[in-house]
Symmetry: C2
Subunit: 144 residues, 2 copies
């Protein structure tokens, strides 16, 4: 079902995507998505349809964290079959805002992958933080 | 890449899963997951590992909404290749609690599917509501 080559190619895609995130390289980040990517991000909107809409959102996110950032991937699991794959992992994101305040939390990330013209791209992405049903607030203090 | 049969089988899996949700049929819901399902739910914990852990969480969720529920699926997209698939949709969930208070909101749902012994099952699931980064509260009022 999984080929070692596809698994290695997906890990390489993710390494490159993480590096672009850390470098706050908007064009570099966006190059990892299909043109028709459908994204559910952790903040602000229900969904983002297409690379252009998602790029505008990513730009806003990068501006929110103007200072140095960290992005740690843990418990990555990938599955592939032919030209399709999906994966999930936990990501610890921390960043420093314009006032020098550092904030961070664990997010859950799910991704759907499609191989197009021999190269894997992210066709679907879902970032989130769970919330407390009593208070309605996001649970930023959870640890894996 | 996609076969019409696999698409139809996945739609049938989801129809059956939605019916079990509406019937608050815990065993029926859980029968749609692989034994090693890895789930990111919208509330309380970062993740649930395996059918048993997820069942205990589902039970808690069903108890929170003791009254009649609705579960509307919108904008479903499915992709399959061989014995693997992924899908995503928006789900409007509303329920009545023990005090007769009805609450509802739109959730984002991503799923990873695996065909095992000829039958599709849900191997990964991610439910969430986005939050407002200023207040840290979940955005229950968003509309598609």
């Amino acid at each position: 079902m999984n080929t070692a080559t596809d698994q290695a190619q997906l890990r390489s895609l993710l390494d490159s995507w993480v590096k672009a995130n850390l470098a706050k390289d908007l064009e570099g980040i966006i190059a990892h998505y299909t043109a028709d990517v459908l994204a559910f991000d952790a903040i602000l909107q229900l969904q983002f349809k297409g690379r252009e809409a998602y790029q505008a959102h990513w730009q806003k996110c990068l501006e929110m964290c103007a200072g140095p950032s960290t992005f740690e991937v843990r418990e990555l699991q990938l599955e592939t079959s032919g030209e399709l794959g999906f994966g999930h992992f936990l990501a610890h994101c921390a960043g420093t805002d314009a006032e020098g305040k550092t904030q961070g939390c664990w997010l859950r990330v799910s991704q759907g992958y499609r191989k197009q013209q021999g190269a894997w791209l992210i066709a679907h992405e879902h970032f989130s933080v769970p919330f407390d049903p009593q208070s309605g607030t996001a649970l930023f203090g959870l640890e894996p």
